[in-house]
């Protein structure tokens, strides 16, 4: 498919199913942010020939990524799948600015993050990226509200504002009855929903999820995936999910297959055709 056609199709999808304003009442503060969304850039994420080598040039060199190119439009829900050691998590870490690529470019919301300093990358993460982990990674001695508000406080919000916004987010993910509970007392599904609320705290441009259902049973997995789907469709959040779980791929509109550090194929939900090998 030509670039022009792909862009046209993606644009159509953006205008249709994935607009928070049209499909559901976004929170006021989110609307304000969304109004400034994407700063006129067509792609929320552009990866150009990204390579990641560990111990480059040494006898124990590991080529985790061998030249990945990927473009993500706003409001997409992408799954990255592949066997262990295929480079999925490395790719997610590079998108999330936790790692720098050895070469190539990673452009997030129009900003090239691949050569940024550690502190600048931290600021990018704070404003543009939300993380959801397999292990939830919550502070168990804190309440659900405190866990979510922590992300906001790092972003410079006051304690009062942060807790207020955290409560709004927890309501949004259906945890209004668990807000004051310590997260150690919550079920796995509830903990993952708190983690999702935390990922949404700073109204990110993209949410990166690493095996979000890896620790959950089938029923809970489905509930979490439904929530992610709702956030994607109704609230317009972009998701990139690394997974082994076939259930997750059912919720994705695009599936990227990785093997030995390279993309070997891509599937789009609309046509289920292999569009790139």
């Amino acid at each position: 498919m030509s670039k022009k056609k792909a862009a046209k199709r993606a644009g159509a999808r953006k205008r249709g199913a994935c607009t928070g304003k049209k499909n559901g009442p976004a929170l006021k503060w989110q609307e304000k942010h969304r109004a400034r969304a994407h700063r006129g850039h067509k792609y929320i994420l552009e990866i150009e020939d990204a390579k990641k080598f560990y111990n480059p040039g040494k006898h124990n060199e590991v080529r985790a990524l061998r030249g990945i190119s990927l473009k993500v439009l706003p409001c997409e829900f992408i799954s990255i799948v592949g066997p262990s050691g295929s480079g999925k998590t490395t790719l997610l870490d590079i998108i999330g600015t936790l790692l720098k690529p050895t070469s190539g470019k990673v452009i997030l919301d129009g900003i090239n993050t691949s050569r940024m300093s550690q502190s600048t990358r931290a600021r990018v993460r704070r404003g543009k990226i939300g993380f959801v982990f397999q292990q939830y990674n919550l502070i168990n001695t804190f309440t659900a509200t405190e866990n979510v508000s922590l992300a906001l406080r790092i972003g410079g919000h006051s304690k009062h504002d942060s807790e207020k916004k955290a409560e709004e987010l927890l309501k949004m993910v259906g945890l209004e009855h668990r807000m004051k509970q310590k997260t150690s007392l919550l079920s796995g599904g509830e903990q993952q929903r708190v983690a999702i609320a935390r990922a949404l705290a700073n109204d990110p441009k993209i949410i990166l999820a690493d095996e979000p259902t890896g620790n959950l049973d089938t029923k809970t997995s489905k509930m979490v995936l439904e929530l992610m789907k709702w956030l994607n469709i109704e609230k317009g959040y972009t998701f990139v999910v690394v997974t082994h779980d076939p259930e997750v791929t059912k919720y994705s509109r695009r599936i990227v297959y990785l093997k030995d550090g390279a993309i070997i194929k891509e599937l789009r939900k609309t046509d289920h055709r292999v569009v790139k090998i």
């Binding site: 999330g96 936790l98 502190s119 993460r125 990674n137 790092i154 935390r198 700073n202």
Partner: protein, 377 residues
């Protein structure tokens, strides 16, 4: 984010309490020893004030530490000293230790001091008046005046009697509190009477008062030249010796306190290193959600500073209470003096311990690779 730091210190409650306890012990030691040494300093300064401009004369070989025992200055020699040019007055003194007031060996002994009544102001200071009764007067016999502490301790007032070597002395006055323990803890008796009572014919030492304070060094030299058997100590010499002694005491006491506090600081470091190890994954999350290295550093430093400041505050209170308690229970001559400098100094020291103790673990936490930290099991 200080509230979060406080919450974090409460996560491992027992460990935090033990760490704080380490700081408490160190800071309490600094405050207690510091205020005792300050009290000593204050007391010595008060003693020194009465010596300003005076020259102590004693026989060679006798030392102040042994109250010049063995030193003998005869009445004839006192007259010769009076005849020296520039000498305004010579004050012979007799000191007689009657017993100590407490079991503690540093307790100020009860003393009877023999002094010529017309010269008593040289000894007690002109500014120090009488809180009750009158001063000693020429021709007084079998009378005494008491220092304020002595009177308080034995519940004495004008009209009571005090016994020295089986001889009763009628109390005619009580001296105002002077902060000079030689006066406050003593009774003053006319010189001749005490000398007769103790059957001594010579005095262990005398004070020489120069006409001009500026000339005291010169007069001291003249005394040394004229009396080969005598040694002299000027107020300046005394100040230097006492100053050195006080500095040594201060360095020693604060040194002990500082060692204790540094051990407490190492406790903070240990606790924070453990915290970094235990919360490695959390640090990874902290960074993943946008915390910079500096933020992580600040977070851990505030936690260690919080532990040490809490320990410092409790340590200051306990140290002050301990110093006062030691002062009261031991009957130590110098009351501990808790100055704002000691309190502020101890708090600043506690904060520094926390910051230095927490610095290495905080740097370690700040430099953690977020990817590695997130995968930490």
């Amino acid at each position: 984010m200080l509230d979060i730091a406080f919450r974090n210190t409460r996560r491992q409650r027992t460990r935090s309490i033990l760490t704080i306890l380490g700081i408490i012990i160190g800071i309490a030691a600094i405050v207690a020893l510091g205020s005792i040494s300050e009290g000593l300093n204050y007391m010595v300064e008060a003693q020194m004030e009465t010596l300003v401009g005076k020259i102590i004369v004693h026989e060679k070989g006798a030392s102040m530490m042994t109250a010049y025992s063995g030193s003998e200055i005869t009445m004839e020699q006192v007259s010769d000293l009076e005849d020296l040019p520039g000498v305004k007055d010579v004050i012979p003194l007799v000191f007689h230790i009657m017993g100590t007031s407490g079991g503690f060996e540093f307790a100020q002994p009860d003393m009877a001091i023999g002094i010529e009544p017309e010269k008593q102001d040289y000894f007690k200071g002109e500014k120090v008046g009488m809180s009750e009764g009158r001063e000693l007067e020429d021709g007084d016999t079998e009378v005494a005046i008491t220092g304020s502490d002595y009177a308080e301790k034995y519940d004495l007032e004008v009209g009571d009697y005090v016994t020295v070597e089986d001889e009763d002395f009628y109390i005619v006055g009580v001296v105002e509190k002077s902060d000079n323990m030689d006066i406050d803890s003593s009774i003053l008796i006319p010189l001749e009477e005490l000398a007769d009572l103790l059957e001594i014919e010579a005095y262990p030492f005398v004070f020489v008062v120069p006409e001009d304070i500026e000339e005291s060094e010169q007069i001291a030299e003249d005394i040394k030249d004229s009396f080969e058997d005598f040694d002299v100590i000027t107020a300046k010499d005394m100040a230097r010796t006492v100053g050195e002694l006080m500095t040594n005491i201060k360095v020693f006491t604060l040194g002990i306190g500082a060692i204790a506090a540094i051990v407490g600081g190492l406790g903070v470091m240990n606790t924070m290193i453990m915290a970094v190890l235990e919360r490695k994954r959390e640090i990874g999350v902290f960074k993943a959600i946008g915390a910079t290295d500096r933020m992580v550093l600040k977070q851990f430093l505030s936690e260690s500073a919080m532990l040490s400041v809490i320990g410092g505050a409790i340590g200051v209170i306990l140290g002050a209470a301990g110093a006062i308690g030691i002062g009261v229970l031991s009957g130590f001559a110098a009351s501990p003096v808790i100055t704002p400098e000691i309190v502020i100094g101890a708090m600043v020291f506690a904060l520094m311990l926390g910051l230095f103790g927490g610095l290495y673990p905080a740097i370690k936490a700040a430099r953690l690779d977020p990817v590695e930290a997130l995968r930490y099991e």
